[in-house]
Amino acid sequence: MTINVDRPCGTFDSNYYQAMEIFRTPLRKFLMIAFIVLLYAIAFILDDYIISILIVFCAFSIGMTGLQIITGYAGQISLGHAAFMGVGMYTMAVFQEHLGFNFWFALPLAGLVPMIIGMLFGVPAVRIKGLYLAFASLAAHFVIVYAINNWRSVTNGTDGMYLHRPGVLLGIDFMIDKYYYILVLTVTVIMIYFAKNLSRTRLGRAFVAVRDNDIAAEVMGINIAHTKVLAFGIGCFYAGIAGAVGGGYYEYVNVEWFTLTDSIWYLGFLVVGGLGSIFGAIAGAVVWKSLDELSTLVTPITEALLGGMAFYASAAFSLVIYSLIVIVVLVLEPRGINHRWQIIKRSYRLHPFPY
């Protein structure tokens, strides 16, 4: 008989609402709340350097969740995700610069504009499938970067643009990094909660249906064209928000910030994190940005060690180490960190009997 090992033992649902809960036991609910509170609390403990890293983690977690919706849930491979993050940054900047919007009004627009562009580039997904779609979506990246580079009157070309954080609100000055971190964290928590809701409701199931068996989904009453385009739209909405809050931290945006490599690594670290779960998306983002941080940390060390030829060597070393870690992680756990995490949980639940 099949024992269900995907939930903690001893939990039984006595009504349908319980079956739909995100957290099944009070303990887990408490742990999650405690974790979030901790995230808020550390803003007042840690220094600005760590906070800057945490902000990047948050922003990329949102963006990665967006890609998870497109690729992990709806199964449409997108190789232009960083570009949509860029669109979000630029939307924010353009609306602030040219139209005088403040942060709060520009933020939803920074989601909506990429959403619309994303839906446009999502339309080909109705016909194109698999790897073909992946590389066709590279076109999105090139078109967006080209447009930003060459539409100088609006985007300032390669010179980049300035963003502004929100002004003082309720006595909170967002120019101070830790308060801005709290803002970003709040946005992240909300966005991830929404994504979780999405994944357990109607559209989320339609996404998975399209991913697992698009022909059957069509015959079973799911409009796959709508669903695919919506997946791109929502995913790019997330990317745009991620770009807006991330760019807001630096108060500056440049087209160099979302190169093709970034777009490709978005997909890469999504796989490292694990496809098809929010946890995987966050894990992917955190691993990615930690590695980035690590490689900047390595630079001074190699410079000290190698002296003269240090410039090349350190760049090369960080590349080599970076790529080696990715290779090793994926070779050891091809289904991503999330999969390993599930196995650990499963064997914990079954302890002391392994099956």
Partner: protein
């Protein structure tokens, strides 16, 4: 020749599927493995042919031996090279290749002279005359029966000593089931190939086989010669569809209560 002793299989190291299976297949014999869905029949075959490895499963206990050599947990191609070929359930094939190319691909494993390929093709076509007329069709567009013939013919191309046949009658029309059954019998007789047949169609399975095993919940619960199994009351009731007095029930008035009996194992 092929022998399974106390074989235990786990998937992902957490899910126990086979709980000690014992099974024996003699040279040139035809044995049949019956059992409900999910009892572990296909897993048994995959454990023998090594295909478990690709599904994150492994033989964790017991011995699978072939001609005295232990073969558990080897790579499938090594096992195929020993002459054990599995015809997987669901007619997996190279969809975009033609029927003849598929057959030829089956012959790649045979290490003998190259001219043998042509003779083997003729041999397969003599068993399955219908394939000859289809040889340039794209395999993916053939009907289920034709595909079944093709995958069976393909396994013959490799000069196997043991063929593990997984559900050859799945989804086939009655007339075709008879045809396939006849061919299985003929191949077993003339090519001296030992066949381990997994079948839901117990009537056909026991008709063909000389020895039968019944599997439930990852264990062999009953075995014996095909004749003795056919006489067994439980087998009659649960697999052959004959109630106590030997009369067939109508599906229309079939039980509206749960009637399944389980062997305790």
């Amino acid at each position: 020749m092929l022998e399974l002793e106390n074989v235990e299989v786990k998937y992902l190291n957490t899910i126990l599927v086979l709980k000690g299976v014992n099974l024996k297949l003699d040279k040139g014999s035809l044995a049949c493995l019956l059992g409900a869905n999910g009892a572990g029949k296909s897993t048994t075959l995959k454990a023998i042919s090594g295909l478990l490895r690709t599904e994150e499963g492994a033989v964790t206990d017991g011995v699978i031996s072939y001609d005295g050599k232990n073969i558990q947990n080897r790579w499938p191609e090594d096992i195929a090279a020993l002459g054990i070929l599995q015809v997987v359930e669901g007619r997996h094939m190279a969809e975009h290749l033609t029927v003849e190319e598929n057959l030829r691909a089956g012959g790649l494993i045979y290490k003998g002279p190259r001219s043998q390929m042509g003779k083997d093709l003729e041999m397969v076509y003599s068993y399955f005359p219908r394939l000859k007329s289809l040889k340039d069709r794209t395999a993916g567009y053939c009907s289920g029966g034709e595909q079944q013939m093709m995958v069976m013919g393909r396994s013959l191309m490799g000069h196997p000593e043991v063929v593990l046949l997984d559900e050859p009658s799945l989804g086939l029309a009655p007339l075709l089931v008879q045809e396939i059954a006849g061919i299985i019998k003929k191949i077993n007789k003339t090519e001296k190939v030992a066949i381990l047949l997994v079948e839901q169609n117990a009537i056909m399975g026991l008709d063909l086989a000389t020895y039968g095993y019944v599997m439930e919940n990852g264990r062999i619960v009953l075995d014996g010669s095909a004749d003795s199994l056919r006489e067994n009351e439980d087998v009659k009731q649960f697999y052959l569809g004959l109630s106590g007095i030997g009369q067939k029930r109508s599906y229309k008035d079939v039980k509206h209560y749960k009637r399944r009996k389980r062997w305790l194992g």
